[in-house]
């Protein structure tokens, strides 16, 4: 059947692209592109964790201004990353600084903050008030309560946010090729622009694989970081999710 033949031929072409030695060598080889994508994504998620996680922890701990912040962060999700990337790259003092890393980093941090901020905040608000009170009654200071009680209990939520953000960032960092930061987006965009669907698909496949590895890895990390007594409530596997008990917060949470 013609369609089946086309499909087989396409799969064979993709396999051949992925196994061509030249595509694995040098500064535009797959290992280098993969590493650059990982490097950028890692930096972005750490940046977003510091900013979004930090704000979420403070707001969750004090219990003030949380809904405003969460809604503002969620509204920021509507900003298209490509538009933001273009906007940053047009500013002379950002432009293509650090080989395009800076503009890509800033645009992607904006993408990664909302899920982390929202989840951290929700995780903090989900900490049982009695546990918090008990900790205070035992003489723990505010900082101690945050570090030793609230943060560990909020970790499953926080990590779910990190995982969502990481998958989004890995997928979206392909746009960085537009600001001269070559990563796996280079074969994807080149392939699309030249009607080379094999190259575009092979690049996209590698991005998808990277995203899957990140999802699985962070899922495992999420389990390890979850305090033992909470772990048995966690469903296993890829679909591991975290549910907020408060309906209003459940609506805002990302898993």
């Amino acid at each position: 059947m013609a369609v089946w033949d086309h499909f087989r031929h396409f799969v064979a072409s993709v396999a051949s692209w992925l196994t061509t030695a030249a595509n694995w060598k040098g500064s535009s080889g797959i290992p280098e592109l993969l590493w650059r994508q990982t490097e950028l994504s890692l930096a972005v998620v750490i940046g977003a964790l510091v900013i979004g996680g930090g704000i979420g922890l403070v707001l969750g701990h004090t219990g003030r201004g949380g809904l405003v912040a969460v809604n503002a962060a969620n509204a920021a999700r509507a900003v298209p990353s490509l538009a933001l990337l273009t906007l940053f790259a047009i500013v002379p003092w950002i432009s293509l600084r650090w080989g395009g890393f800076l503009a890509a980093f800033l645009a992607l941090v904006v993408l990664a903050i909302p899920p982390i901020l929202t989840n951290t905040y929700v995780g903090m608000r989900e900490v049982d008030a009695e546990v918090r009170d008990a900790a205070k009654a035992m003489g723990l200071t505010g900082g101690q309560v945050l570090r030793t009680v609230e943060l560990p209990l909020a970790t499953p939520f926080l990590m779910a946010g990190v995982r969502t953000a990481s998958i989004e960032v890995v997928a979206t960092s392909t746009l960085a090729a537009y600001v001269s930061y070559s990563d796996l987006g280079t074969p994807v965009i080149s392939g699309l622009n030249t009607n080379n669907t094999v190259e575009a698909f092979a690049g996209a496949l590698l991005v998808a694989l990277l995203a899957a590895v990140v999802a699985l890895g962070l899922g495992a990390l999420q389990r390890v970081l979850t305090p033992l007594p909470l772990r048995r409530h966690m469903p296993r596997g890829l679909g591991a999710s975290t549910r907020a008990r408060t309906p209003a917060l459940a609506a805002a949470v990302e898993t």
Binding site: S95, L96, T186, S190
Partner: protein, 302 residues
Amino acid sequence: MLLRRSLMTVAALGTTAIVLASCSSTPSASSKPTIKIGATNFEEQEIVANLYGDVLSNAGYKVKVESALGTRAVVVPAIQHGQIDLEPDYAASLLGYLHGGKPQAAGTQINTAIAADKAALSSSGVTVLSASSALDTNVFAVTRATAAKDHLTTLSSLAPYASKLILGGPPECPTFAGCEPGLTSVYGLHFASFKSLDEAGPLSVAALKNGEVQVVELFSSDGNVVSNNFVALTDDKHLEGADYIVPVIRKSVDTAAVTAALDSLNSKLTTDAISQLNLDVTANKEQPAAVAKTWLASVGLK
């Protein structure tokens, strides 16, 4: 890059049905017939279709401008089958389209491109008139300051300086024949490095302005070159296709008077002129029909 015009809108294929329905009568060649002018979903084409319409209507013809007919894959069959009589097209890209989408060697020079277009279209009663001086293709641009400092006018004149300059272009540039490999093989240019940018869009413009790259690939006629006061280096060894705007017309309506009217337009229609018209439509949000009328009056063709 090659795909810019061809990929314009597949969805608009549905429009063909409307054209088929609305263009059923065939004009007779004896008296002055109504000339149906078609254009794809591309501002530049709509502007030129309106220019054609206005000069022909000034010459006493009844005209009907059918714009936004989708892609070349809609418009060319429409003229081959007599559903439209006239359309603006691009000599080299049209030739590639007529040969299954593959760029043709004849497409690199305007005279050979038009001759080959005519040969391919003749059997369906269609021909191509003389080209305008308006070129819509990929160009390599530098800032006015760089051009002045190194006396740059052509791609050939870049040769002594290329090794100190950074080239910017879309991500496929290092492997795409019409970009870096062509600059190396045809012009012997070896740039200091390459930076991947968008496809002749805002990021490419910004990178050249900010000095991140010194040479960047843009489109000749979309207005970016004109509005930013860049200098588009002349492709003196014909690396890119000779995509000059040409009138493609059915022989049945192509009389001496029609040719004369379109030639009078083609002699005034330059790359700078169409760039400004494109800017008026895309940046200044004016209507293609309106900018066409204003410009014709300004060059004394009204």
